[in-house]
């Protein structure tokens, strides 16, 4: 039996509200498939599953708020038989069943208490009488609001839930489209204040815990812009590549050369990440901010990056991100170029260790061959965690970024292995 638990969809997430299931018991699921939509305080997120299997039981109902790590559903592994008894049956019985099947005893004892403890901790208080009555009525008492002693679910709560449930059920039957509307309504009411609180918590933690250092570099952008103009010439608007995609790619490749900036600082040590999943800061129209991941930026061709970036921005704004996009970013890139600010000095999103800030690309004075002339320049900044890296390495990263942007064609085509450190292209 595989337990599908609510993943953490960002460092600031402690709990989530299930909005809907995309699967039913008995459905086969594949690794990476979206199986549920969960509302974090920031967004409605499509949650993917990381096992192949068959959905056995859905343990959480739409509308329920559960902590990160709570078991949302159980899956049978491919070829696994459904257990004869419900999972809430005595752990001892489960252990025996596993033993009888010939599994090593150590594994059985390892697994069983864990699920047992979680089940007990997550179970809300339901009076014995209420539980008995709920069984008679076919109500799941764990999803009834309790008004009794110590917040427990009482007989009256069970019976009231049946009355409430039966009334709207008729309404929904009458209006076929009622169901999806009801689901999205769960998420919206105080989304903005919840998001504000989530941002406040993450940013306060960042400034409290992370010793930031800041570096900045002016980068000539004439070659990159020229190349983009040629590249886009003759392409329909929908297929044009914007400088944002090229900049993301440059950051990703530069990061592979200075890996101390890409990864997570957790439990007193830095864990570098081999892949670069760029968290792209996206401001929402109603206020607030998301930084979902664009995966494996360093290895993707520029056209693909552009498509994925456009898609990511669109989905972030309508609130349909995937769980891996919320939890995977290894660094954040914030681009305030559209507002034509000159530079942005960011606050790192923990447990990441760096944030790259990109200002507007504008015509500014530049000295070349002893003469002042106007050139399109970009001010790139780095805010980095001094626990994971030092200013010297940070400076190397910005220098790499600058050099990569002087060779846009190679950059655009490159996967991470194509441009080697010191490669003269």
């Amino acid at each position: 039996m595989i337990e599908f638990k609510l993943p953490s969809l960002g460092a600031d997430m402690e709990e989530g509200t299930l909005l809907s299931w995309q699967v039913q018991p008995g459905d086969s699921v594949k690794r990476g498939q979206v199986v549920a939509v969960v509302d974090t305080s920031k967004a409605a997120v499509d949650v993917e599953i990381w096992h192949d299997g068959v959905v056995h039981e859905l343990l959480v109902q739409p509308g329920d708020k559960v902590p990160v790590g709570a078991v949302l559903a159980t899956l049978l592994a491919v070829g696994e038989e459904a257990p004869a008894r419900r999972p809430e049956a005595a752990p001892a019985a489960l252990a025996q069943a596993v033993n009888a099947a010939g599994a090593p005893p150590a594994r059985a004892t390892e697994r069983v208490p864990e699920s047992g403890i979680i089940a007990v901790a997550a179970r809300p208080p339901v009076s014995p009488l209420a539980r008995r009555r709920a069984r008679e009525l076919g109500v799941d008492p764990d999803h009834v609001h309790g008004t009794g002693a110590q917040g427990s679910v009482t007989l009256a709560d069970i019976e009231a839930s049946v009355r409430v449930a039966s009334a709207p059920a008729r309404v929904i039957a009458a209006t076929a489209t009622a169901a999806p509307v009801a689901v999205t309504a769960v998420a919206t009411p105080d989304r903005q204040s919840a998001m504000r609180q989530a941002i406040a918590a993450a940013m306060s933690r960042s400034k409290r815990e992370i010793p930031h250092y800041y570096l900045s570099e002016l980068i000539p952008m004439a070659r990159a812009l020229d190349w983009l103009q040629q590249f886009n010439a003759g392409r329909p608007i929908t297929e044009r590549v914007l400088s944002a995609a090229l900049l993301l790619k440059a950051v990703a490749i530069a990061l592979q050369r200075v890996p101390e900036l890409n990864g997570f600082y957790r439990e007193g040590q830095f864990e570098p990440s081999a892949a670069v999943h760029a968290g792209v800061a996206i401001s929402l129209r109603d206020g607030g901010l998301l930084a979902p991941a664009l995966h494996d930026v360093a290895t993707k061709p520029i056209e693909q990056l552009m498509r994925e970036l456009a898609d990511l921005v669109k989905r972030a704004r309508v609130g349909s991100l995937r769980s891996s996009e919320m939890s995977d970013p290894t660094i954040t890139i914030t681009n305030l170029g559209e507002q034509s600010v000159m530079s942005v000095l960011g606050v790192i999103y923990p447990p990441q260790v760096a944030l790259v800030g990109l200002g507007g690309i504008d015509q500014r004075p530049w000295v070349e061959d002893g003469k002042v002339c106007a050139r399109p320049l970009l001010c790139a900044t780095l805010a980095a965690d001094h626990r994971a890296s030092d200013g010297h390495r940070g400076a190397l990263f910005l220098a790499e970024l600058r050099d990569l942007l002087q060779q846009p064609q190679a950059l655009a085509a490159a996967d991470s292995k194509a441009i080697k450190p010191g490669d003269p292209t």
């Binding site: 009076s127 014995p128 009488l129 209420a130 539980r131 008995r132 009794g148 002693a149 110590q150 009482t154």
Partner: protein, 326 residues
Amino acid sequence: MTTRHLTYREAMHEALREALQADPRVFLMGEDVGRYGGTYAVSKGLLDEFGPERIRDTPLSELGFVGAGIGAALGGMRPIVEVMTVNFSLLALDPIVNTAAMLHHMSGGQFSVPIVIRMATGAGRQVAAQHSNSFEGWYAHVPGLRVLAPATVADARGMLALALTDPDPVLIFEHVQLYNTEGEPSDEEASAIDIYSARVRRTGTDVSLITYGGCLPKALAAADELAAQGIAAEVIDLRVLRPLDDATVLASVRKCHRAVVIDEGWRSGSLAAELMARISEQSFFDLDAPLARVCSEEVPIPYAYHLEQAALPQVSKIVAAVKALL
């Protein structure tokens, strides 16, 4: 018996007098029961009526005179032994527990011990820790004893005669705060008296208040207060602390789905604990809230009035315990 006004003290007195009149084998023995008329004036005038052979003042030796009572019972008499209070009965624990309660078993059924032992119990009279205990729960622990706790005038009037018909030892606990309570026991009530069942003293549907003895008036007062707030409490008077009448208790719990046990004993290892255990064992799936109890604070009962009152179960504590369950 017709309907008439009586105090609990008068009811006990009448019961004693009736028993002495009814059976020449019956005699009363204890400290100050004769010339003084009983510490709580229950036996006043009986010495004059029945003489010193049947109303016997004893030395201050509970071990001695309880033992003598057991011997008399074995010899064919029907002794009523008054131990002034339960506090002093600890000196007679050995004859009560090891002899009276066990002799029938130890003799393979050859000997019975038809003794009735009366004791005052409980606190609330500012007589300090050593005179304020409620140890009836200890005796309710012992197989071989029947333990009665009359809480009403009618029970005080009617239980003694029935206790005397029991071939085995019977202990009667009279709470000191009850002697001045008044009642008008009806014929109907009198004819319904037994020494094996609990009684529903007030019917209700929201919570069972399970109590006995000196706490019964407090539970009834709490039920009044709760009724004024729209909460219908049912009050169960256990009456018999051993053997417990599970059926009446469980029927009430199965109706109300919530229960508070009120017991003047200390909570640890108490009769209240036993009742809660039985309810959990036999009616767990009827409960809609955790079980609760109101017991005495686990301290020697204080002498100072306000501290003594604070240490004991009170109406306000019962009301609070009920409201925490709703």
